[in-house]
Symmetry: C2
Subunit: 138 residues, 2 copies
């Protein structure tokens, strides 16, 4: 299951995406409008800033804003940042491969082959969904 952190992060990004190229938005405004615990949101936005998606300004008139075009922000990448690899097992991850501790032999593991199919299915959807696509869904 996707953790709250990722869901909150996506909601916040959507909020900022709708104000793309507008003025800075307060954490507290996003927190209120999206019903996200403010302190938790702080940490999430900071992480997305450190990964290069947002910028922030302190003091009066400050706040957060999106610095990438919503067309160029992919949901798969956001979820990897906020929740880790998309793959269902570490042995089936492309971006963070590691042999699963549960399997005596990674090479011959058939579960891995199946999970690689699943990972590909997930990635195909999430890596092709831009923030813009998401905002335009209905």
């Amino acid at each position: 299951m996707l953790p709250s952190k990722a869901i909150y992060g996506l909601r916040a990004l959507m909020f900022l995406g709708e104000r793309y190229e507008g003025s800075p938005v307060l954490i507290s405004e996003i927190a209120e409008k999206e019903e996200i615990p403010k302190k938790f949101l702080e940490a999430i936005l900071l992480e997305l800033k450190n990964k290069g998606y947002l910028r922030a300004k302190k003091g009066k008139g400050g706040g957060y804003w999106l610095i990438k075009n919503p067309k160029d922000v992919f949901i798969g990448d956001i979820i990897r940042i906020l929740s880790g690899p998309l793959a269902p097992t570490s042995c089936s991850s492309k971006t963070a491969f590691a042999p699963c501790p549960e399997c005596p032999d990674v090479e011959t593991c058939k579960i891995r082959l199946l999970m690689e199919d699943v990972r590909q299915g997930i990635a195909e959807i999430l890596d092709n969904e831009s923030l813009q696509n998401l905002l335009e869904r209905k």
Copy 2:
């Protein structure tokens, strides 16, 4: 990430699948050959028995065996039993729908629409993969 429990369970089922229609297999044999903690495996096999996939016999000559044809055992169902719904969020689950606590309004939530696509992608793979298919992979 898929919990160890589900991975162990799948490995054990594969082991029993290869001996389909043979004599009962000891928990301790599966535990040794598949390198699964025995006590943990006990609980997993019991669960699969209670769901109708396995039968067990106590005493000498006892053990566990698969009672469904491997063609009729679907990995999606096994994972649902051992690890819960396949969907990435509760709001996108078909088998266990519940509104996510993170979203003010499920109806209009665009994240849900995306996650429903993901859930469908996952389910399409796992619900069409039988234990037999899995055993025949290479």
